[in-house]
């Protein structure tokens, strides 16, 4: 399945379009997606620290999706680096 991951904060530098699209196996978990994204970032945006992807959370528009969760069927996600509001 194709997933589109919206980028925020420091991770916007990973792709100037503001999102990354990846092809991953059906019924993948967030942990699998995280690995795929780490590979992608290492190859296409080497300036981004792998540690930043590791410390980031995945989310839908409704909730944070931890590593054991399934990737949403609509393939729409966001990756949230450590937050710094206020």
């Amino acid at each position: 399945m194709k997933v589109r991951i919206s980028l925020f904060g420091a991770l916007r530098d990973a792709d100037s379009r503001g999102f990354i699209e990846l092809e991953i196996p059906e019924q993948s978990t967030i942990a699998t997606l995280r690995e795929a994204l780490q590979h992608h970032v290492r190859d296409h945006a080497p300036a981004i620290s792998p540690n930043l992807v590791q410390r980031s959370a995945f989310a839908s528009e409704d909730e944070i999706l931890h590593n054991h969760r399934a990737v949403p069927e609509n393939g729409q996600l966001a990756i949230l680096p450590p937050v710094s509001g206020g």
Partner: protein, 169 residues
């Protein structure tokens, strides 16, 4: 729930409005109002700042504000009105970044609800601050991880060393 107001305000259209926050929470049942206003300051960690930009994942930020409001209501255990608004876009020194107002029957619950709300907004809402410096450089602030395993590690480190995330306090 009409007792909790949440907003993300694009400040290229309008600034945050503390008077609107006070209006929203004002109610004949309530004798105490606590407010917190966060503004952009001119120095951070020894560097001169010219302004900041806030990036938000808006739908989840609004949902998070609402959840924070519901948690504050549980904490108070009685009637509460709460206003949470955060700025989006480019802000200059002195601009309002966040406005919280909590109103309850008495002052203790109002202070507690306000404190809970601002701390939760800083640590849980999907918001990112980029600081712009006098020398033309800019940097995203170090923040709090929303990953459960990293949150736990950071919480333990923070308990040990105090708040190490470089946030304004």
């Amino acid at each position: 729930m009409t007792d909790i107001y949440t907003a993300v305000v694009d400040i290229s259209h309008a600034p945050l409005d503390p008077a609107a926050a006070l209006d929203f929470v004002s109610d004949p049942r309530f004798g105490g109002i606590a407010t917190f206003i966060g503004r952009v300051r001119q120095h951070n960690l020894g560097r001169a700042v010219t302004g900041v930009s806030y990036d938000l994942f808006e739908p989840l930020a609004l949902r998070t504000f609402q959840e924070i409001g519901e948690r504050a209501r549980e904490e108070v255990g009685g009637p509460l009105k709460l206003y949470i608004a955060h700025a989006k876009g480019h802000l200059s020194i002195g601009d309002f970044a966040v406005v919280i107002a909590a109103a309850t029957a008495h002052r203790d619950e109002a202070f507690r609800a306000c404190r809970l709300a601002i701390e939760a907004v800083k640590h849980e809402a999907p918001i990112w601050k980029q600081e712009h410096y006098v020398d033309g450089d800019s940097a995203w602030s170090e923040g709090c991880s929303l990953c459960e395993e990293h949150r736990e590690a950071e919480r333990m480190a923070a308990n040990h060393d105090g708040d190490t995330h470089g946030h304004s306090r």
